[in-house]
C-alpha cells in the first residue's frame, strides 16, 4: 500500500509542534520520546488526503481539512451551565471536564467515589500514577494512522480514569471534552486513558461537545485497558458543530473474561471518523460494539470498527445503524480478524442504513479475515428506504405523511437508543434524536420512500 504524504498539511502543524515541544521540555523523558516518535511518524505519513490506493481512506474526503488553517489561539471561558446545556449531565455522576484538551477542576464534578481515580491526565503523568507510563500511547500507535500519531505528538493533558482492582462502581463516570467558543479555528488533541483493574466494573460516558460555531479540528485518542475479569460499559457521544473535523481513535485491550461494550451516538461534525479497535487478547474476552449515526446536509460520518480475535474462545459483535439525508455520506467499515490460534471464536457484524434522499452515499463494507478453522461468523449490511406500505398503513390511521415518516425514522433508531442505559443519557440521546429527525426529513425526498 502506498501512502501519500502531504507536506503542506504537515507544515501546517509543524510550527505548532516546535512551539509545543519547546514549552514542554521539562516533561518526563519517556513522554518526550513518545511525542517525538509520534511526530516523526506523522511527518512521514502526512494527512491521508489521497484516496486512491489507500483502502482505509478510500471513501473519506479530507481535502477540506487539508485546506483549512488552524490557529493556536486561546479559547473562551466555559461555564458548567453551558456544559449542562449541551452534554448529558447528572449531578450524581462523576464528571471529568476537559476544555480544549486541558483538565478543568472547577467545571468537573467529582464525588471522591471509593475505588475510582478520575481526573487530570497531566497530573497522573507527573505523579507517575499507576500504569500511566507503560499504558499511555502503547495501544494507539498504529503506524499508518496519521491522526493517532498527530494527536500523540501533542500529548499533554486530558482525562485519566482508573478503577481499582475489584471495585465494581455503581454510578456513572463521564468525561466531557469541550471545545470552547472561539472565532478562530483551532486544533485540539483530547486524550483519555482508562485503566480498569482486575475484576472491576465501570460505566463510562465519553462526550464531545463544541461551544464554538467555527470550524474546529479535534483528534481525540482514547485508550482503555480491561484487566482480567473486568467489565467496561462505554458510551461515546459525538456532538461537534457541523463545520468541524473530528477524527477519533479508540483502542481497547482486553484480558481474559473481560466484557467490553461500547455504544456510539454520532450526529456532529462536517467530517467525522470513529475509529475503534478492540484487541481480544486473552481467552473469554467479549466485546459488543454498537452505534447510531445520523447525517444531513453535506456531513460525512465514518465508522471504522475493527476487532482482532487473538486468543481462543472470544466473542465480538458489531452492530451499527445509520440514518442519512440531504447530500450526506456515511461509511461503515467493519473488520474482524480471527488469528490462527483463536479457535472457538464467535464474531458477528451488521450495519443497517435508512436512506432518506437520493443525494446520500453509504459505503458499508463489513469484512472478516479468518485464519482459524473453528469459528462461527456472520456479517451483513443493508441500505433501505422508508417502506411505502408501512407509510400507507400509518396514513390510513390518520397520521399525515410527514408525521408518519418521523414515526418510522424514530422507530428505526429506537433499538439503538434503548442501548443507552443511564437514564439521563437515554433522555439526552432521545431528545437530540427527536430534534434531529425533522432536520433529516426536511432534506428527504420521494426517493427516500420505496
Amino acid at each position: 500500500m502506498t501512502l501519500a504524504t502531504s507536506p503542506a498539511a504537515v507544515d501546517k502543524f509543524s510550527a505548532a509542534y516546535e512551539t509545543f515541544a519547546a514549552e514542554n521540555a521539562s516533561s518526563p523523558k519517556w513522554l518526550k520520546d513518545v511525542r517525538q516518535h509520534a511526530w516523526s511518524t506523522f511527518a512521514e505519513l502526512g494527512l491521508p488526503t489521497k484516496r486512491r490506493g489507500n483502502e482505509l481512506w478510500k471513501y473519506t474526503n479530507l481535502q477540506p481539512l487539508a485546506a483549512a488553517d488552524f490557529e493556536y489561539s486561546a479559547g473562551g471561558s466555559v461555564t458548567q451551565d453551558q456544559i449542562k446545556a449541551t452534554a448529558p449531565w447528572d449531578d450524581t455522576w462523576n464528571t471529568v471536564v476537559v476544555v480544549d484538551g486541558k483538565f478543568n477542576t472547577e467545571l468537573s464534578n467529582l464525588h471522591g467515589t471509593a475505588g475510582l481515580n478520575a481526573g487530570s491526565l497531566s497530573e497522573a503523568i507527573s505523579a507517575g500514577t499507576g500504569n500511566v507510563e507503560s499504558q499511555l500511547a502503547s495501544l494507539a500507535g498504529r503506524e499508518e494512522y496519521a491522526f493517532t500519531a498527530l494527536s500523540t505528538a501533542f500529548i499533554d493533558d486530558g482525562a485519566y480514569v482508573a478503577v481499582d482492582a475489584g471495585a465494581e462502581l455503581e454510578g456513572v463516570v463521564q468525561v466531557v471534552f469541550v471545545t470552547s467558543d472561539a472565532a478562530s479555528s483551532r486544533a485540539s488533541y483530547p486524550r483519555l486513558l482508562v485503566d480498569a483493574g482486575e475484576g472491576s466494573s465501570v460505566v463510562l460516558i465519553e462526550t464531545h461537545v463544541n461551544l464554538s460555531e467555527s470550524a474546529q479540528f479535534s483528534a481525540p485518542v482514547v485508550e482503555m485497558f480491561a484487566g482480567d475479569g473486568s467489565t467496561i460499559r462505554h458510551y461515546r457521544i459525538q456532538m461537534e458543530n457541523e463545520a468541524s473535523f473530528h477524527l477519533g481513535t479508540t483502542r481497547i485491550h482486553q484480558l481474559s473474561d473481560t466484557n467490553f461494550t461500547s455504544t456510539s451516538f454520532a450526529v456532529g461534525a462536517s467530517v467525522a471518523r470513529n475509529d475503534v479497535h478492540t484487541l481480544l487478547d486473552a481467552p473469554g474476552a467479549s466485546c459488543t460494539l454498537r452505534g447510531l449515526y445520523m447525517t444531513s446536509g453535506s456531513q460525512q460520518q465514518d465508522q471504522e470498527i475493527s476487532t482482532t480475535h487473538a486468543k481462543p474462545g472470544c466473542k465480538s459483535d458489531q452492530y451499527y445503524k445509520g440514518i442519512l439525508s440531504g447530500k450526506s455520506h456515511a461509511v461503515f467499515s467493519g473488520k474482524v480478524v480471527v488469528m490462527r490460534d483463536a479457535q472457538k471464536s464467535e464474531a458477528s457484524q451488521k450495519d443497517l442504513n435508512l436512506l432518506l434522499s437520493r443525494g446520500v452515499e453509504i459505503d458499508a463494507k463489513p469484512s472478516l479475515e479468518i485464519y482459524a478453522d473453528d469459528v462461527i461468523a456472520a456479517h451483513g449490511a443493508t441500505a433501505g428506504h422508508v417502506d411505502r406500505d408501512t407509510l400507507f398503513y400509518l396514513q390510513s390511521r390518520g397520521v399525515d405523511e410527514d408525521a408518519a415518516k418521523a414515526i418510522l425514522v424514530r422507530g428505526f433508531a429506537e433499538e439503538m437508543l434503548n442501548e443507552f442505559k443511564p437514564q439521563a443519557l437515554n433522555d439526552f440521546v432521545e431528545r437530540v434524536t427527536d430534534e434531529r429527525i425533522p432536520i433529516l426529513l426536511a432534506e428527504s425526498d420521494s426517493l427516500g420512500t420505496a
Binding site: 390510513s396 399525515d400 414515526i407 422507530g411
Partner: protein
C-alpha cells in the same frame, strides 16, 4: 353514507392495468356490506382504493362520503373523516409501540378537526380499557407494532385500533383464503361489538366462512372489476354452495 359511482381504477404507471371497471355501490348508515368474489376480481383493490392507497390511480367515477367527494383526499384525510381500513397483513413496524402510534393517530385527527388533543392520562385510560376489551395481551402492546405478532395477535391489534379510532366507516380487507378460524373469530367479534346504527362496514372476503360470524345486510359479488350481483345474506350461502363459476362464465372470464 358512502356512494360509489362508476369507479374505474388502475395500477399507477402501468398501462392497461385497469382492475376496477365501473363499480357502483351505495352503503347506508349502520349497514354491513359484504363484497365477495373470486381471486383477482379486484376486491382488495377496491378496499385499498377507497382508503386512498397511492399505488392505484382512479381513472373515472366518483366516491362520496356523507355527500363529500373523497377521491382527491390523502389517506390520512380520509381517516380524519371517519374511514378505516383493517389490513389483512398489517405492516410490522420495528421500534414503534401501538400506544405511541395510536396516540399520534388520534392527535392528527384532533388537529385536523380543530379539536383539543387528548391528554396523555385520558388516552392511557382509554387505551387500557380498549386493550382489555379486545383481549389483547397487555405485554404485547408494549412491544414493536406487529413485530413478531402471531396472525391472531395482528388481528386483535387491528381490532384494537378500530376500537380506539371509532371510525364511521370501517373497511375490512380479509381477502385471503388462508385465514384461520381463530383470526376469523377475532375479526368477527371486533365487528359485531362495534356494530351500531351510526357505523357502516364493508367486509371484503373470498369465502363465505367469515360471514358465518358476521351477518351482512347486503352481499355483492365482484367479478373482473364489476359488481355482477347484489342480494341478501342468502347470496353468500349460494356462492358457498356453487362457487363463482356461473358469474365468471357470465362475464366470459376463465374460471
Amino acid at each position: 353514507m358512502l356512494e360509489i359511482k362508476n369507479l374505474h381504477a388502475s395500477v399507477v404507471d402501468i398501462e392497461n392495468s385497469e382492475i376496477l371497471k365501473g363499480i357502483n355501490l351505495s352503503i347506508g348508515k349502520g349497514e354491513v356490506h359484504a363484497i365477495m368474489g373470486p381471486n383477482g376480481s379486484g376486491k382488495s383493490t377496491l378496499a385499498n382504493v377507497l382508503m386512498g392507497r397511492p399505488d392505484y390511480e382512479v381513472t373515472d367515477g366518483s366516491v362520496t362520503l356523507d355527500g363529500d367527494p373523497i377521491l382527491d383526499l390523502r389517506a390520512d384525510q380520509r381517516a380524519h373523516l371517519g374511514m378505516f381500513l383493517a389490513f389483512q397483513y398489517p405492516a410490522e413496524i420495528p421500534g414503534v409501540r401501538p400506544w405511541q402510534f395510536l396516540k399520534a393517530a388520534l392527535d392528527s385527527k384532533a388537529e385536523a378537526r380543530g379539536e383539543d388533543k387528548m391528554t396523555v392520562r385520558n388516552f392511557s385510560k382509554l387505551f387500557d380499557e380498549k386493550v382489555a376489551a379486545v383481549g389483547i395481551n397487555p405485554d404485547l402492546v408494549k412491544r414493536s407494532l406487529n413485530e413478531g405478532f402471531s396472525g391472531g395477535e395482528k388481528k386483535r391489534n387491528e381490532m384494537l385500533q378500530l376500537e380506539v379510532l371509532q371510525p364511521s366507516l370501517a373497511i375490512l380487507d380479509e381477502t385471503d383464503s388462508g385465514l384461520d378460524v381463530d383470526a376469523l373469530r377475532i375479526v368477527a367479534e371486533g365487528v359485531n361489538s362495534m356494530r351500531s346504527p351510526e357505523r357502516s362496514f364493508i367486509v371484503v372476503t373470498h369465502y363465505q366462512r367469515l360471514l358465518n360470524y358476521i351477518k351482512p345486510d347486503v352481499v355483492h359479488i365482484l367479478v373482473k372489476g364489476k359488481i355482477v350481483k347484489t342480494g341478501g345474506p342468502e347470496l353468500a350461502l349460494e356462492v358457498e354452495k356453487n362457487g363463482y363459476k356461473t358469474y365468471l362464465d357470465a362475464v366470459g372470464a376463465n374460471a
